[in-house]
């Protein structure tokens, strides 16, 4: 693997995830496009596969990301 540099910018998912509420979302690997969404994780991944993404990145979008203080 070669050494590379990346820009010092956070990856902004705030706009693309905002429309979703209390469901699973599958994102593309490279562009973080939303490929599919829904309440059933397996179906969300299946839909993303059908759109050509072999390895979608899934995340759960909560009703509110809240204010995180300490995990457990």
């Amino acid at each position: 693997m070669k050494t590379t540099l990346i820009q010092n910018q956070a990856q902004d998912l705030s706009k693309i995830l905002k429309p979703y509420n209390d469901e699973w979302v599958a994102l593309s690997q490279r562009n973080s496009r939303v490929l599919s969404n829904g309440h059933n994780l397996e179906k969300v991944i299946e839909k993303a596969h059908k759109k050509g993404e072999k390895h979608p990145i899934v995340t759960r979008v909560p009703k509110d990301y809240g204010n995180y203080v300490l995990g457990f």
Binding site: T3, Q9, Q29, R30, E42, N67
Partner: protein, 158 residues
């Protein structure tokens, strides 16, 4: 080898304390979780305040883990309620680095947990972790000392 990730921004509703906040920036990275022949790519929060790694129960179900056959741990979570997780041996892969992980799958309401959690055991005990909020950068170091931009390395994706 060092693995390099950007912080991620998520939507956040303004509140009384932070009326102008529309987004929140957190140390969240993509990981791959493997169990037997199945795998899933999933976002996980790096959290040094957590003792162990914990993932959604639904993720475990997708992987074919018989969740309740694992060892049960009860703990107090962010809600202040007693919650439970069941621990299993799985493999997590971060930037091509595979690591056996004894992690919990949650039993509690999935809607409250946005990401998997990477805590002290099985994550911080395997990586040196550098989080630089000012540069929006997270670096994970393993034995070797190369720096790799993980998020642009994968090919064949959309």
């Amino acid at each position: 080898m060092a693995l390099k990730f950007p912080y991620k921004k998520f939507p956040q509703n303004p509140n009384e304390a932070f009326p102008d906040h529309k987004q929140v920036q957190r140390p969240v990275i993509p990981i791959t979780i493997r169990y037997k022949k199945k795998e899933i790519d999933y976002l996980a929060l790096i959290d040094s305040g957590v003792d162990f790694c914990i993932f959604h129960g639904e993720v475990g179900q997708y992987l074919g883990v018989d969740i309740k056959s694992g060892r049960k741990l009860e703990f107090f979570g962010i809600t202040g309620q007693k919650e439970a997780a069941y621990f299993h041996e799985i493999t997590i892969c971060i930037g091509g680095h595979n690591k056996k992980c004894y992690c919990g799958f949650s039993e509690f309401d999935n809607s409250k947990l946005p990401y998997g959690i990477l805590g002290q055991k099985s994550f911080f005990d395997s990586f040196r972790v550098m989080m630089d909020y000012t540069k929006n950068r997270i670096e994970l170091s393993t034995a070797e000392n190369r720096v790799v931009d993980v998020e642009t390395k994968k090919s064949g994706s959309t």
